[in-house]
């Protein structure tokens, strides 16, 4: 148990290897989820599991859709400028 705890703590002392590739963009998903959950936890008048999950999921989806639209617009703009 102690050895396992030491391994867990040790994993926080060295950075993970993350390549600069399109897959690394997926790191934004947990962050968007955290933002949606905390924001809805402060804004909803009462916290009820079903309603809370629904509201947080809608906000999470909205953030992702907006990011995708922005990415597509920037990609198109970059193509127009460079080609």
């Amino acid at each position: 148990m102690l050895v396992e705890a030491i391994f867990v703590i040790a994993s926080f002392t060295a950075p993970k290897e993350i390549g600069v590739n399109p897959q690394s963009m997926l790191w934004l998903l947990p962050l968007a989820a955290a933002i949606a959950v905390v924001y809805k936890a402060t804004k909803l008048p009462t916290i009820k599991a079903r309603n809370f999950i629904k509201e947080a999921a809608i906000l999470f989806g909205s953030i992702i859709v907006f990011i995708i639209i922005t990415a597509l617009a920037l990609h198109t703009l970059a193509r127009l400028i460079t080609e």
């Binding site: 926080f12 950075p15 993970k16 790191w27 905390v38 924001y39």
Partner: protein, 143 residues
């Protein structure tokens, strides 16, 4: 004299209200969600605590504790956002101040983004807890 006796309790009430809001704000900064917990908003407190601590820990896991660099080349606004998680982040910063945990590139970026976003989310929760404390004391004063 009559004016003093009339305004005395009101002033004391305002002072108590300000002190209560200050304590709630400090609690919310010390431990994410503790401000809401003090206001008996237990569900909110648990959600806030779990989400902010998890986000902060993901940042540390990806970039190592080296992403908490209070005296190095990290921009001041990132340090300020990281400190908003809790004053205990400063203790972590003292641990990494010697430069024993170097981190560069993409893991550093992701680690800083996660830890500073967690701090900014906690700032939102601190402001919300203080506002709720204000509403609670206003309700109490109003009867």
């Amino acid at each position: 004299m009559a004016r003093h006796s009339k305004e005395g309790p009101r002033f004391a009430g305002t002072q108590n209200q300000a002190l209560f809001m200050l304590i709630v704000g400090l609690l919310a900064w010390l431990v994410p969600g503790a401000g809401h917990f003090a206001l008996k908003e237990k569900k909110r407190a648990i959600i806030i605590f779990a989400t902010i601590v998890l986000t902060f820990c993901i940042g540390l896991y990806v970039g190592s504790i080296g992403v908490i660099d209070l005296v190095g080349a990290t921009p001041w606004y990132v340090v300020l956002a990281q400190i908003m998680n809790s004053p205990m982040v400063a203790l972590l910063g003292r641990l990494t101040a010697g430069g024993d945990y170097p981190v560069y590139g993409w893991p550093n970026e992701i680690g800083q983004i996660y830890t500073s976003t967690a701090g900014l989310l906690n700032l939102l929760c601190i402001v919300n807890a203080v506002y709720l404390a204000h509403l609670h004391s206003a309700e109490t004063a109003g009867g």
